[in-house]
Assembly symmetry: C2
Homo-oligomer: 330 residues x 2
């Protein structure tokens, strides 16, 4: 118990983050004027301590991750952020210092990504910290990039690098099976992988390129292999992916040299928050130029082909079997 | 563990509830075309087992309460529902039967209130069941009814009856201090009060009347006395309320006869989900007629006057002191 009422808490920590549509967070609801000629893109993600982050992660990382996983969805749909709502369940032992760190970081990202706080709800949790963010974006009418839309022959592109966050999570858990490669990995590489798990980089810079050139797109959040399979299946497509074509960070490559079996969590671990999209070959050069112009690396990893099988991953030694294609919660 | 993947679970339980903007819940986001000339009203509420409902409440009650508390906010703002997003954290011991009951009831309300599911997120909770709903409504541009807006001399109206849910919660808790009045209260009155706690009735039927006639409105969720104080304070108003004017259900009256001290939880307990609004005296008759036309009782409980004190509640015996004006979470 802090002695603060819910209203005090909102006024002190969250009202400074509110955009004009948030009405100073003193009303029952936000009031948002949608940009004319646009449709709204809405997404929500819930994060719980012990499931989606570690309870002792720094509050700034938790705040930013919660917002960024939603912004990643908006980016993949080609949308421009308009704002977000936050539901926050604070554990019994919350402190004002923790909440100040959380709110300050959330405000930094809200400003940095031009996505102001519109409203929310703050409650006390009998258990772990949990939070749910709903983000709202806009695209010109009829231009949201769908997940179902991959056409036969499309080139499949991913942004950034794949697998870092999955390795970062293994690093943080430090289980016996990962002892050796972790011990061998240099500190900067470890730091890179950890940060990729803790702090996603939503590819909002890429939203216009995706909107202009992609037939289909999604953000990779539950593992590259599984998410690729999900996207392809929706339009009866399959693909053969040469693992050598999948973009990896130097840190992931270093880990992979130490333990080649890590290719499995790299390809199927979660939390990448990169964009996967399908581009007609005739548009590929233009898409790559548009991505380059905003400083985001995009890499073609294969080609969609009509088919009903899950994507096949091939190394120089032959097909690689991925026991679990995608992280599943249930 | 059910053997269901998250996608299976969504396809089976939630996709049937999705409106067209929900895209069958197979995409990363919903795509909503806002009605031209309207602005969007956005609200979010989080509910946690053991805090906002009892963990063993029936799943249909939990589902409906979670949606309805949000619809209540839309109603108070004069908005028409467009849809909602659901974040659901299921406890480890969830069952398919429970989830089927939850989803069916949610679907009934989504249909009944013309507020389709647009999207969501389903995760596993290490602790209690929790859920967060974000509801989206629309009002014609410039016509959202604000919370700050009470003018000097406005009549203060409430819908329905006050205090039932607060008594219903006391009934459910059945603590020692409540033993006598509970034992004396007839079964139908008990059932009425319990249901008012478990299953709010959002006053959506009143949204047009509120939009046309109210200077200010809010839904009463944290206790009538406290919420009234919050609304008045925003424009430098106060009020004197004669307790005899506050509309009570027969069940609440019966309880009050048995224990007059219950007037305090009646006036300051939470979960009423009635609308509180401020109407210019010249509009009062028209407002009452509009409410009557949609079958919702509205009752004037007092008049706003410029002032800085909290609202004064008077009985025939003099002022009644409310120790805690409003339920506070922190």
């Amino acid at each position: 118990m802090s002695g603060l009422s819910e209203d005090d808490l909102i006024a002190r920590f969250f009202a400074p983050l509110a955009g004009p549509a948030g009405l100073g967070l003193i009303d029952d609801a936000a009031c948002l004027t949608p940009p004319p000629g646009h449709e709204l893109v809405l997404t929500t993600d819930m994060l719980i301590a012990g499931v989606h982050f570690f309870a002792d992660d720094p509050p700034d990382m938790i705040a930013k991750k919660a917002l960024r996983v939603n912004l990643s969805d908006l980016a993949a749909k080609g949308a421009e952020p308009l704002g977000f709502l936050l539901s926050l369940a604070l554990p019994q032992d919350w402190t004002e210092t923790w909440l100040a760190g959380f709110a300050t970081a959330l405000g930094e990202d809200a400003k940095g990504y031009a996505c102001a706080l519109l409203g929310g709800d703050t409650v006390k949790s009998p258990g772990a910290l949990s939070l749910s963010i709903t983000a709202i974006g806009a695209v010109p009418q009829g231009h949201m990039v769908p997940r179902p839309g991959v056409a036969d022959g499309d080139l499949l592109y991913v942004s950034g690098t794949i697998g870092d966050a999955g390795l970062g999570l293994r690093l943080a858990r430090a289980q016996e099976e990962d002892r050796i490669w972790i011990a061998d990995l240099e500190a900067p590489a470890q730091a890179h992988l950890r940060l990729r798990y803790q702090l996603p980089q939503p590819r909002l810079g890429l939203n216009l390129a995706v909107r202009h050139y992609a037939h289909a797109a999604m953000d990779i959040s539950d593992g590259f292999a599984g998410d690729l399979g999900k996207m392809l299946r929706l339009t009866g497509m399959s693909a053969e992916i040469f693992i050598a074509d999948v973009p990896l960070s130097d840190a992931a490559r270093q880990a992979l040299v130490r333990d080649p079996a890590l290719i499995i969590p790299i390809l199927s671990g979660g939390d990448d928050y990169e964009i996967l999209c399908a581009i007609a070959p005739a548009q590929a050069a233009a898409f790559e130029r548009a991505a380059q112009a905003v400083g985001v690396t995009v890499t073609p990893v294969g080609r969609a082909r009509r088919g009903t099988t899950v994507p096949i991953f091939r190394s120089a030694q032959g097909p690689v079997l991925l026991p679990l294609l995608s992280y599943s919660h249930f």
